[in-house]
């Protein structure tokens, strides 16, 4: 079985995987980082979004071996010293989550939106950018507010 080595949330990790192993399976099953979720099998829902080398990626659509040598950040890697990242805090403050299942993917996507669009986001931009993340609970209203508020807080 091929060996993979990568940096996940600042920790060097390695393992042997079947070639067909998806990055999300490696994260969830080998590393037991179960914050990254699987909500579909067609790369549509975004529950699995992580960052690979600083860019958002649907980890269900990438093989673990493709991430060999990469820097990977998952939802578990955002909080520092027990305090949440401003984007996580914004989701809590704006009730941007209900069941929590889509949430890790939403937060990771939100960070990527900020990285590419800056801290002052209008509603239309956020809605368009969230097109690849499905939430069944919130109706998006409060997710949009959360992303805007989180983006702003990150700029302060």
């Amino acid at each position: 079985m091929p060996a993979v080595a990568m940096n996940v949330n600042g920790n060097a990790v390695s393992g042997e995987v079947e070639p067909r192993t998806l990055l999300v399976q490696f994260l969830r099953e080998s590393l037991r980082l179960t914050g990254t979720h699987v909500g579909c099998d067609t790369s549509q829902c975004g529950a699995c979004v992580v960052h690979v080398n600083g860019k958002s990626v649907k980890s269900c659509t990438m093989l673990a071996v493709m991430a060999d040598g990469c820097d990977v950040t998952t939802i578990e890697g955002l909080a520092t010293d027990g305090s949440m990242h401003p984007m996580q805090q914004a989701f809590m403050d704006n009730h941007g989550l209900q069941c929590g299942f889509c949430t890790p993917g939403m937060v990771m996507t939100a960070l990527d939106i900020v990285n590419r669009n800056g801290n002052d986001l209008n509603e239309a931009t956020v809605r368009k950018e969230l097109e690849g993340n499905i939430c069944r609970c919130t109706g998006y209203h409060n997710i949009v507010k959360s992303v805007q508020a989180g983006a702003k807080a990150m700029g302060e």
Partner: protein, 785 residues
Amino acid sequence: MVENGIGASVRRKEDKRFLIGKGNYTDDINVAAQTHACFVRSPHAHATINSIDTGEAMASTGVVAVLTGDDLAADGIGPLICGVTVTSDDGEPHRAPAHPALAQGKVNYVGDHVAIVIAETLAQARDAAEKVDIDYGVLPAVTDTGSAADEGQQQIHEVAPNNMCFNWPFGEKDAVEAAFASAHKISTLDLVNNRMVTNPMEPRAALGEYNEGTEEITLHLTTQNPHVHRLVLSAFNQLAPEHKLRVVGPDVGGGFGAKIFVYAEELVVGWACRKVKRPVKWTSDRTEAFLSDAHGRDHVATAEMAMDENGKFLAMRVMTQANLGAYLSTFATMVPSYLYAFLLAGQYTTPLIYSEVKAVFTNTAPVDACRGAGRPEATYLVERLVDVAAADMGLDPAEIRRRNFIPVDAFPYQTPVVQCYDSGDYEAALDKAMAMADYDSFSARADEARTRGKRRGIGLSSYVEACGIAPSAAVGQLGAGVGLWESAQVRFNPTGNVQVFTGTHSHGQGHETTFAQLVTEQLGVPFENIEVIHGDTAKTQFGMGTYGSRSLAVGGVAIAKACEKLIAKGKKIAAHALEAAEGDIEFADGNFSVAGTDKAMNIAEVAFTAYVPHSYPEGLEPGFDENAFFDPLNFSFPAGTHICEVEVDPETGVVEIVKYTAVDDFGKLVNPMIVEGQVHGGIVHGVGQALLEGCRYDSEGQLITASYMDYAMPRADNVPSFDIDYAPTNPPHNPLGVKGCGEAGAIGAPPAVINAISNALGIKHIDMPATPENVWRAAQTAALG
């Protein structure tokens, strides 16, 4: 106001774990020596099974077991049940074909369970599943709701001639006919309530563990009601005695009804883990979820309204054909009958209503409750028919509603369809919504849109629903196999913090926060010292779970009653400690005090005294821990008016929702932030049904919308932000004054959206989903394009 008490938008206790990736969903749980399961499913909609050869699969790498329906039957497990009886017009109970958890000689829909393959890894299980060799004898399939019972159709179940489950007439047929015969005007509408796939974002999963020493099975399930699962699996499916079966619903990623039911996979995993003496884990992928989760809605109906010359409703007649799928899911029969026909009065004084519901079997996945369950179907029909009636009478849709509303002074109001509405002010909600939506100046906006080649439309929906499910005596009379009370336990620990055990289940609703607010309000214990515990039959005494917007309206009251018992006991303890008469003790803000003195004791001190009863009232039990059960006296009746304004591009058929207003009556709000979130989510569920979501089978029974590529879920850019407000009234039967809010949006939205599109195009009706293609065709027909 108590800090973090009733009425405060407290931030949620549950959020942190979800936000930092520390949620604990079923698939996140891994146990030692765990195996992985894959189900072999039928690729055919309707077929006999001539033979199953598991030899090659068994020999496949890593395989632990391959089990089929024969193995299940040999162990006397199953079949799955439907828990509500509906009496058909021949006086017989509904037809209930056997629903084996693994097929017995025949499959009846694509995705039907044939075998389970258990292996060391999921990949090995999947590889081996492909090697199970099944010889099918393919039969013609029945998939269309409207024609499933027609003469000459392929028969699916021997026990159900003409594919009929039941034909359920309800109401005074002759009186309705007489009213129609003498009516000034009759409005008629044919409509389809499109089939939905419920689609909570977390797919279903099951993890079964068997302890040979204790002979106990522990099942972690994606369930909305762990005790209901345990009861059914034990009492009806013979999985294990109730006291030897533990069901845990850990964090659950949304339910919307789809996780109420007892599914084949859950029973089979529970049985298989004992058989192979290893933990067995199964997690659905999304395709399996589309194929095998219970679907929702799927009606075809004809509705007629008889009116006098003032547009006053005289009588309504509704003929409905409802698709129940291939087998009866756990509550399937109740949804198109009691949860549907009993809501056909809507907000109106229509004195006579007659309905007939024909429920049919087809070669499709079972159909059961989906957010709102029956009530969205009723509301859609009524609120669309009312708009058609308004057009036929030349009245504004708001005006015809006003003329027929149950007036505010008429409550309690006995409808002709069983329900007795306890409270409401329908006109207040309508007025407020119209003001917020700027209804009166709509025509100026429509004119402006026209200059840009667009068509604007505005649509009202004034809904009422029956929640707080449910008074046990009422549902018992209707043929339900269970009571629908709720239970709670409120336990002080000796150090003064509180654990609240509830039989309801939170899978997004925020009970851990809302219920803690109730307790902090009532007992004065700081919010952060209260923990709400749910979802584990080994922890919580009993409970009927979460659906039908019942958790606060029923479960919340049980908590309040347990708190009352604690206060009563605390008075005895405080009286003894403070050397006063029990009758002189008052309780407020967490303190027991002697009236008219400054002698007082905090409830935490009382709790400590109860656990360390060195000096204690004679004869009083130690401990500070109380149970309560609550059985509601009536349903609750949330209601409201939703107004949707759309802009349609007749060239492309694209519909944009430009403004959406909702004014709801949920009674008292415990956490307004959470309530608003429930409304948002419900509306988008309803908008999804109205604009995007349509589950389709082809004539051979293949599900052609089996992924998010083909089944359009509402996404962030399909919907706007919403304007939400309330017009509350007090429900006299509910001790907390609450009504329930979880389903309102999904009930109110579909007719508001379709009324708006019909208004925009100047057409009588368009079926859901109003996709660009359907809207474009309608615009072409209306010669607008």
